[in-house]
């Protein structure tokens, strides 16, 4: 291969979409995003610490084309993945909110719009204030790339005091109409004081095929709010998924996150949460169930900016085959954030000799009266446990299934949205060759120091 061809192979710029004109400040954001991405390119330099452990070459070496906004495939995926029941179902197809397919009757206090519409409508000021305010283009080239494609995203607004009891389920469907399609989902969620909401982001797509989802979600919450957030990645095991979720919450607000990955070939999730008031409660739980050559990289940041906030974090990985996992859990405690109580735990089950886990806690503490603990364990299934169970008449296979299931179910049983839990548990059961409706009702509590 010639030097020029070699260089071309090394890095290909995504083909930029021709976007419809937008409001001036949206155009500005796009331009800024594009300029930053053009300047920085993909973070392939091995000196970039945040990206050192994830090989993004397969992404970089592909020339990505913007996926077509609407597609009938997305509607089919939507039908398949929607929860039904009383859930509010919203569809994003290849990054574009599809109001025609989405739930139309919404409870009072809940506003759902495409970001384009919101950016020029009566909520324009709110959108303008918050869009891009947390997920900064200059901090992450993939955020910049997403921002360069601001178009057709989703705006969810929950008014002060509104308690939305049914889950708001956003199905983010990648439906590539050609090989190597990229989609840029963008979601802005604004939760006002005292509001309660449960939001589920389901990332789905065809179960075969290479596509790339580059997503950004921002959540801005006021005081005394309760947000229960779930993210479920069920994309194709050949797909690529790079996403940032950036969250800021006000005084005495609870933010609970469950992030679960079973799909995609390469996944990178950045989850940044700033507890921006006293008496906040932050909880980040994660579950990764992968095999083959899948790679999942979670970078979480819990930022304690005010005193008297507890935070809990429990990430569990089950890695089979040659799968690899990264967990970088950062806790940043500002000097004023006295009486912080932060607890972090990362546990990994390696089901094969070739699976690999790299778990790194990173505590930066500038206050002197805080409690911060972290723990990390990685290992195969415990032989002593297997033997114990066998001595009671369970087969080795049964014992193994039960131990793996229980390990993962420790996260799923904390999930309050039944369809999310059921979806994960049936996936877990299928992985273990158990019947689809297999569920251990009498699961015992576990890791209760991790709460929830």
């Amino acid at each position: 291969m010639s030097a020029v061809a070699e260089k071309n192979k090394q890095s290909k710029k995504p083909v930029m979409a021709k976007l419809p004109a937008a409001t001036g400040w949206v155009e500005d954001l796009r331009r800024a995003g594009r300029a930053i991405f053009d300047a920085q390119g993909y973070p392939t330099d091995s000196k970039i610490e945040a990206w050192r452990h994830t090989n993004i070459r397969p992404i970089v070496e592909t020339e990505w084309h913007p996926a077509v906004a609407d597609s009938s495939a997305a509607a089919d995926l939507f039908k398949h993945y929607a929860f039904g029941g009383d859930a509010i179902e919203l569809l994003i197809s290849n990054g574009h909110y599809q109001p025609a397919h989405s739930s139309k009757s919404l409870p009072s206090g809940l506003i759902v719009q495409s970001l384009d519409e919101a950016a020029s409508g009566p909520h324009a000021e709110i959108v303008k204030t918050h869009l891009g305010s947390r997920a900064k283009a200059d901090k992450n080239p993939f955020v910049a790339l997403n921002q360069a494609h601001l178009n057709g995203g989703l705006f969810i607004h929950i008014r002060a005091g509104a308690a939305i009891s049914q889950p708001i389920h956003v199905v983010i469907a990648a439906s590539p109409d050609e090989v190597a399609a990229i989609n840029y989902p963008r979601i802005l969620i604004v939760v006002e004081n005292g509001a309660h909401a449960t939001i589920v982001e389901s990332y789905v797509g065809p179960q075969k095929g290479i596509y790339f989802t580059n997503a950004v979600t921002e959540i801005i919450a006021g005081d005394d709010a309760v947000i229960d957030h779930y993210k479920l990645n069920q994309e194709s095991r050949e797909a690529y998924h790079i996403a940032t979720m950036d969250v800021i919450i006000g005084r005495a607000t609870q933010f609970i996150s469950h992030s679960c990955t079973i799909g995609s070939s390469i996944t990178r999730n950045d989850l940044n949460v700033r507890l921006n008031g006293e008496h906040c409660f932050g909880l980040l739980n994660g579950l990764v169930l992968i095999g083959g050559t899948q790679h999942v990289d979670y970078h979480t940041l819990l930022e304690h900016a005010y005193p008297n906030c507890p935070s809990y974090e429990l990430y569990k990985h089950v890695l089979d085959g040659k799968a690899s996992g990264i967990f970088k859990g950062q806790i940043f405690v500002h000097d004023v954030a006295q009486k912080t109580d932060a607890k972090q735990s990362s546990k990994t089950l390696l089901l094969s000799d070739d699976a690999q886990m790299n778990s790194q806690p990173a505590l930066e503490i500038y206050a002197d009266d805080v409690k911060c603990t972290h723990g990390s364990t990685t290992g195969p299934i415990d032989e002593a446990s297997l033997f114990y169970m066998e001595t009671r008449g369970l087969s080795r296979e049964q014992a193994r299934q039960l131990l793996i299931y229980a390990f993962a179910a420790d996260v799923t049983r904390r999930i309050k949205v039944e369809p999310v839990r059921a979806r994960l548990e049936s996936f877990m059961a299928a992985l273990q060759g158990l019947p689809q409706d297999f569920r251990i009702q009498e699961l015992a509590s576990h890791d209760d120091d991790a709460v929830y």
Binding site: S385, T391, G393, I440
Partner: protein, 257 residues
């Protein structure tokens, strides 16, 4: 009827250069009998218990074990369990996330399937469990807790004997079940074990101390030293050991060499 016959059993720690632990054990247990194996630490008592259960970290190098006329060494651990052998562990394992109730029902039903009996549904299982719980003074919250997780030493041992009662074994092996128990807990555990005495069932206790034998009267007491059973007697042998220790036996062994 001979339930268990161990002949010339030799075993070592599995793997190249593994230490020899059992150096020719002979032991016959008939249905209805209670046997106690006593001995100092490192003599091979617990290894024998684990080898009987088929633990893979030990390798049987010689000898045979016949259980109810079948070659036990040909069976996997789970098969031994389903055939009616139960080992109450010296150090019961904590298994986070799996409730005792789910685990125990699965265990009972595997054995029932093996024996051609219908599986117990949740209701029948609960009935069985309730009966055994009161026997071992076990709180019903036990069932919903993860197996042994966060249990005290005494709770773990009681849980072992409780599980033994629920599993309805033919041969009960109790490995140092008395260690770590206070006298009240010991009485409860012993009482539970005593109710398991039946003409068609045998109990093999491995213990350091005479204390347990005050509550569960053995028919035979064996002394195990350096991988062999060197002396067998009735319950009076336990008292002798309590009074004089193992020294006289060790000395007489040395003398006979």
């Amino acid at each position: 009827m001979e339930l268990l016959k161990i002949e010339g059993l030799e075993a070592k720690v599995a793997g190249v250069g593994g230490r020899e632990i059992l150096k020719g054990v002979n032991l016959t247990i008939r249905a209805g009998e209670v046997h106690a194996i006593m001995g100092k630490n490192g003599g091979g008592k617990s290894t024998l218990a684990q080898v009987l259960m088929g633990k893979e970290s030990y390798e049987v190098t010689s000898g045979s074990i016949t259980y109810q006329g079948k070659d036990l060494l040909e069976m996997d651990t789970e098969e031994r369990a389903r055939e009616g052998i139960f080992l109450a562990f010296q150090y019961p394992v904590e298994i986070p996330g799996v409730s005792t109730s789910y685990f125990l029902r699965a265990a009972v039903n595997e054995t029932r399937k093996h024996r051609g009996q219908p599986e117990l549904d949740a209701k029948d299982f609960l009935k069985l469990v309730k009966e055994k719980q009161s026997l071992l003074k076990i709180d019903s919250s036990f069932m919903n807790r993860a197996i042994n997780e966060g249990f005290s030493g005494g709770e773990k041992k009681r849980n072992e004997v409780f599980q033994m009662a629920v599993c309805d074994p033919t041969l009960c092996i109790m490995d140092e079940t008395d260690s770590g128990l206070d006298i009240d807990a010991l009485k409860v555990v012993a009482q539970g074990a005593n109710t398991l005495r039946r003409p068609d069932r045998a109990i093999l206790m491995v213990t350091h101390y005479q204390r347990l034998l005050d509550f569960i009267k053995p028919d035979y007491v064996h002394v195990m030293i350096d991988g062999r059973i060197v002396k067998t007697g009735g319950p009076e042998l336990a008292q002798e050991l309590e009074d004089f220790g193992y020294d006289p036996i060790e000395k007489s062994l040395a003398g006979s060499k």
